[in-house]
């Protein structure tokens, strides 16, 4: 259970999150929608304790994480698997070493075991062939897949966090990533997926949060989303009616 209790956060004079309160269960499938710069990524960083809110508390499984230091946050972070916007692969390591990163860090597997495990995970996301390439040699879609694979090799997370997993991908690749996300959540694990593409959000989520200037102004299910009268949300949804995607572009707000 993730709970935000009147959380505020600012970068200098830029108030990114303002008095935010919400709670999300680990099993939920949530999409966080909003325009560029509205604080979506910031929410994920706050959940992981990567940034500390200026005010308010963040509770993970009832424990306040805002008072913990890096060491104490470790245990909290291991409950999640995070894929950052753009993937954030370590660009000095090959695909294999990226995926093997946590295995090497936390286990004493033999080289063959690591090799086998990495191969398994990579074939699960369909990029086994890229095993020995460097991140810069990958296409955008492959990059995301490898990032997904790396987050899978980490631990056994309770919940997945995805920051714009489909932004900048063509519809087919985006769809593949969505399928992958759904596959990974098969055993009842939930996820929070940040996106500004309603199409993908509808494929993935059951609950939708709309963020604008650091305030959640919509929180509801699919029905409510499709029938809402809010003009800002209608504008987001109108994307569906045109049947087009706004790839990587900021939606006008």
């Amino acid at each position: 259970m993730i709970e935000f209790d009147h959380v505020s956060f600012a970068y200098g004079a830029n108030h990114v999150l303002q008095d935010l309160s919400l709670s999300i269960g680990f099993g939920e499938r949530v999409a966080v929608l909003g325009g560029s710069g509205d604080g979506k990524t910031t929410i994920l960083k706050v959940i992981l304790g990567l940034i500390k809110p200026d005010a308010g508390r963040v509770l993970i499984d009832g424990e306040d994480i805002t008072t913990r230091d890096e060491e104490g946050l470790r245990e909290i972070r291991m409950k999640f698997s995070m894929v950052f916007q753009e993937g954030a692969l370590f660009d000095s390591l090959t695909v294999k070493e990226n995926v093997a990163f946590c295995l090497r860090e936390y286990t004493h597997l033999s080289e063959e075991d690591i090799d086998r495990k990495v191969r398994d995970i990579l074939s699960m996301v369909g990029v086994e062939a890229a095993m020995h390439l460097m991140p810069e040699e990958l296409s955008g879609g492959m990059h995301r897949r490898v990032a997904l694979a790396r987050s899978l090799a980490a631990f056994d997370p309770k919940m997945f966090l995805y920051d714009e997993p489909t932004t900048g991908l063509d519809p087919i690749n985006a769809d593949n990533i969505c399928r992958l996300i759904l596959d990974l959540a098969h055993n009842g694990k939930g996820y929070i997926v940040v996106t500004h593409k309603v199409v993908d959000a509808l494929k993935l989520a059951e609950r939708f949060l709309f963020l604008k200037s650091g305030v959640i102004f919509f929180d509801g299910g699919r029905e409510e989303l499709m029938t809402t009268a809010d003009p800002d949300i209608r504008r987001f949804i109108s994307e569906l009616n045109y049947g087009t995607d706004t790839h990587g572009e900021d939606f006008p707000s």
């Binding site: 200098g12 830029n14 990567l50 890096e70 470790r74 972070r77 291991m78 995070m82 753009e86």
Partner: protein, 261 residues
Amino acid sequence: MRGRVHTIGLRELIFNLQDFYLLSYRASLGIIRRPFYIKDTIEQMDYAGAGSFFIVVLISLFVGMALSLQISAELSTLGLKMYTGKIVGISIIRELGPVVVAVVYAGRVGSGIASELGSMVLGHQVDTLRVFGVDPTRKLVTPRIVSALLMLPVLTIIGDAVSLLGGYYIAVNVAHQSGTFYWSSIREVLDFENVFSGILKPFVFGYLIANICCFMGLSTQGGAVGMRRSTTRAVVYSMIVIVITDFVLTRALLYILGFSV
């Protein structure tokens, strides 16, 4: 875009220093406490040490030759040419060698550290490490400090040797001095006090350069412009700190080793 004013106020400076001390403290602790990142450290040593070898040799050679040329020209007008070896030796071993090599290190390795760490911050790679439960200070900063502590003294010794050789070449072939005399005055210079000062300095410089450049890299903000700023600052601050520390160390060492000025 949000406009930002980039003048550093006193408050920001103090905050920055506090963060800087904290980072150095935690990273230095990593030298003696687990986990050790041996592989990363060796990689850094290879990049910093082996990678800087040729540039250090080249620059030291010409510094040594120019110094020897200048000094023997000056001294010969006074009829004191035989002191060339001694003066070149002391200047190189105690002052020029450590400072020149440290400046080269800051320019080549320090800028590399700042830009690499900076791009890791901007690409969320540092955050990824933290999410994986890995302390970036230990994984990224400590290996770079260890590498500087080990490699800068070694590079300095190599640089000194090359400078002295360059000085020898000029003294003998251009200034027509006796080679044996040059070497015997160099040997005189190689006493404990001089060698100690010459080796202590690169340790201190290396520690400071690595800390400054890692700090600048890790505090990168704001895209390509931010990268430029942190890389430039890393090199500029390193150079300033090198020359100031050099002065302070020279003064302190002269005092401790019982010279009077």
